[in-house]
């Protein structure tokens, strides 16, 4: 059957990095095609990753679409498939199908100030937007990244974030004070308020734990950001990615097709638990 929508292509792990250790460990993987080229994607889209014998998981593509040589994924160890990923070594071969879902309308944001607000594992889904915007720096005005982890050991992409400081404003935060930490201490929503972002000609993109997103959006609204200026993503359990297995819907829409990216103007009218 040509174009079998359920048949993954094979990809080889070319790079593995431990981002976060401990109970909520996160590893970053870069995969390269075994044959030919991998599919193209847009910022915010996801892919179904397979470990044969274990199953599939939906994971955000964390690399910029401008990078054609590899695709990057950052995976938290939580269950059957994600744990198997944490046991892989460079050279191992996995399955990949996609890309799935909609994307951030990055082209519509030319000439604007961009605020990225991430927490925990939520940096991965917005990382392609950040790195694409930085690669096309001249197309955007100010770019500001807020990112927080529970502790300094929960900060992912640490080296990349330091490098990012060369071209954009980066504000890191951790929940509680630690020795040797000279940036913000407190939750991400408060870290944002601390810097008073200005809503004029701006877009705010936020991703992270649902409770963080909720308060970030409340605070952005307080600062004068309109609902249409705020973008976020939602994560529902997924199996197919194709709008057929029936489990990821919010109301009439399947998030795997119509999401995972939503403007708050759209999302706030949908029920919270569906």
């Amino acid at each position: 059957m040509p174009d079998n929508i359920y048949l993954p292509e094979l990809a080889r792990i070319a790079y593995i990095k431990d981002e976060v250790y401990g109970e909520r460990a996160i590893k970053t993987f870069r995969v390269e095609p075994v044959d030919g080229e991998l599919f193209e994607h847009d910022c915010g889209q996801c892919a179904m990753l397979s470990i044969f014998g274990r199953g599939e998981s939906m994971i955000s593509i964390a690399s910029s679409p401008l990078i054609r040589e590899y695709k990057q994924f950052s995976i938290m160890r939580v269950g059957r498939v994600s744990s198997a990923f944490h046991d892989l070594a460079v050279g191992d071969v996995i399955g990949l199908r996609g890309p799935y879902g909609n994307s951030f309308p990055v082209d519509d944001w030319r000439g604007k100030n961009l605020y990225f607000i991430g927490g925990g594992c939520g940096l991965a889904p917005i990382w392609p937007v950040i790195t694409t915007a930085v690669a096309q720096r001249a197309n955007f005005k100010n770019i500001t990244v807020f990112y927080g982890g529970r502790t300094s050991r929960d900060i992912m992409y640490r080296a990349e974030l330091e490098k990012l400081r060369e071209s954009v404003d980066v504000h890191l935060s951790i929940d509680k004070a630690e020795e040797g930490w000279n940036e913000y201490c407190g939750f991400v929503p408060a870290a944002v308020m601390d810097k008073d972002p200005v809503p004029d000609n701006a877009i705010a993109i936020t991703c992270g734990p649902p409770i963080m997103i909720k308060f970030v959006i409340q605070n952005l609204n307080k600062l004068g950001f309109k609902d249409e200026q705020i973008y976020t993503t939602i994560e529902n359990k997924m199996k197919c990615g194709l709008g057929k297995c029936g489990r990821c819907n919010v109301g009439k829409d399947y998030v795997c097709v119509k999401g995972p990216v939503y403007s708050w103007a759209v999302l706030k009218n949908l029920p919270e638990e569906y």
């Binding site: 059957m1 174009d3 079998n4 929508i5 359920y6 048949l7 993954p8 094979l10 080889r12 075994v34 044969f52 014998g53 274990r54 199953g55 599939e56 939580v78 269950g79 994600s82 071969v93 399955g95 994560e235 529902n236 359990k237 199996k239 197919c240 194709l242 709008g243 057929k244 297995c245 029936g246 489990r247 819907n249 109301g251 009439k252 097709v257 029920p271 638990e273 569906y274």
Partner: protein, 344 residues
């Protein structure tokens, strides 16, 4: 194409369809099921326990085999559905109307290769309902009818000692021309009789979902209604309602390992459903549909709100299986009417 088939010739018709595998309703241990038949086809069943949806969407579908020798790349081999054609006889109109609804799901956005590969090789030979409806039939109230041809390739109507046989699609015409000489031209009296039988069938009183066009808006307004949990309290989450439903399409995808070293196994799609708690449960244990009320709401709203919003028609075809077979008596007709009534 409209013809008359003497009842004693039905087995000859089936014999003439030698390139098709024929399925018909068979009574076994008190349960009607579509099973392969070679000789006699009996078309006097009320309806089968399971709809014929499994012909295009089997309960288990193997997508591919995987094999991996340690240190080497995995090898994947697609499993492609076989090309054998199936004609299923005795399909009731409610189940016929399930077919275009499943087609919509499996072709919307992208085509599902496995569904399409099977679907194109299935012909649905329907049987109009001319007896009084079962106690839980409600097809008329959801846009159907005991004599609907929607989704069927052929419609047969029982006229006593003979069938009135009508081709609905080109495939249906093909099935009929395969045994051309067995069929006779209908007389004016046959035409008159079939019209009368159909008119009588439609006139039988049935249960009803009231005012189905108004239901989507009312359900939307009732999302937070406490009625959902009240009406679903007895649900044991067995999933029978959805497994028996001619339009439920939800599935799971899993790997089954047959050997560990070398690794050998299959990736399989199996029916799944929204009445199971883990259907939407995240790895963290968080479940957006945390109780039976939220899950009943999903099932009812999918049939009567979301599907109509997406495709302009209710997904439910009124077969009544979920009502008859629910072990705790949860009744979708009563639930919809009650929630709608309470929405004011």
């Amino acid at each position: 194409m409209e013809k008359i088939l003497n009842k004693k010739h039905i087995d000859d018709w089936i014999a003439a369809l030698d390139s098709w595998d024929i399925l018909g309703p068979v009574l076994e241990d008190g349960i009607w099921a579509y099973q392969p038949v070679s000789g006699a086809v009996r078309l006097d069943h009320p309806n089968t326990r399971q709809s014929p949806k499994g012909l295009a969407f089997p309960q288990r579908e193997i997508f591919f085999k995987f094999e991996q020798i340690k240190g080497e790349a995995p090898r994947l081999t697609q499993v492609v559905p076989d090309e054998q054609r199936h004609a299923v006889f005795g399909v009731r109109p409610c189940d016929g109307r399930g077919v275009p609804r499943m087609d919509l799901v499996f072709t919307d956005h992208v085509e599902d290769n496995y569904y399409q590969a099977r679907r194109k090789n299935v012909a649905y030979v329907g049987l109009a309902c001319n007896k009084p409806p079962g106690p839980n039939c409600f097809c008329l109230s959801v846009g159907g009818s005991p004599v609907s041809t929607d989704g069927l390739d052929v419609q047969m109507t029982d006229l006593g000692d003979r069938y009135f046989v009508k081709a609905v699609t080109e495939t249906g015409k093909g099935l009929m021309t395969a045994a051309g000489k067995l069929f006779a031209e209908p007389s004016a009296a046959d035409q008159k009789q079939v019209e009368q039988v159909h008119a009588d069938a439609v006139a039988h009183p049935q249960r009803a979902v009231r005012n189905v066009e108004a239901v989507p808006a009312k359900l939307k307004a009732s999302f937070k209604s406490p009625l959902w949990q009240e009406l679903a309290r007895a649900c044991i989450g067995c999933g029978i309602c959805t497994f028996l439903c001619p339009t439920c399409h939800c599935f799971d995808i899993n790997d089954e390992v047959q050997s560990k070293a070398p690794l050998k196994g299959i990736r399989v799609r199996t029916w799944d459903n929204c009445q199971f708690p883990d259907f939407t449960m995240h790895s963290s244990g968080h479940n957006p549909r945390e109780n039976t009320g939220a899950r009943l709401r999903q099932r009812v709203a999918h049939k009567f709100q979301y599907f109509p919003e997406n495709f302009g028609m209710p997904q439910c075809t009124g077969c009544g299986r979920c009502v008859s077979e629910c072990p705790v008596g949860i009744d979708i007709v009563a639930v919809v009417n009650k929630v709608v009534e309470n929405a004011g």
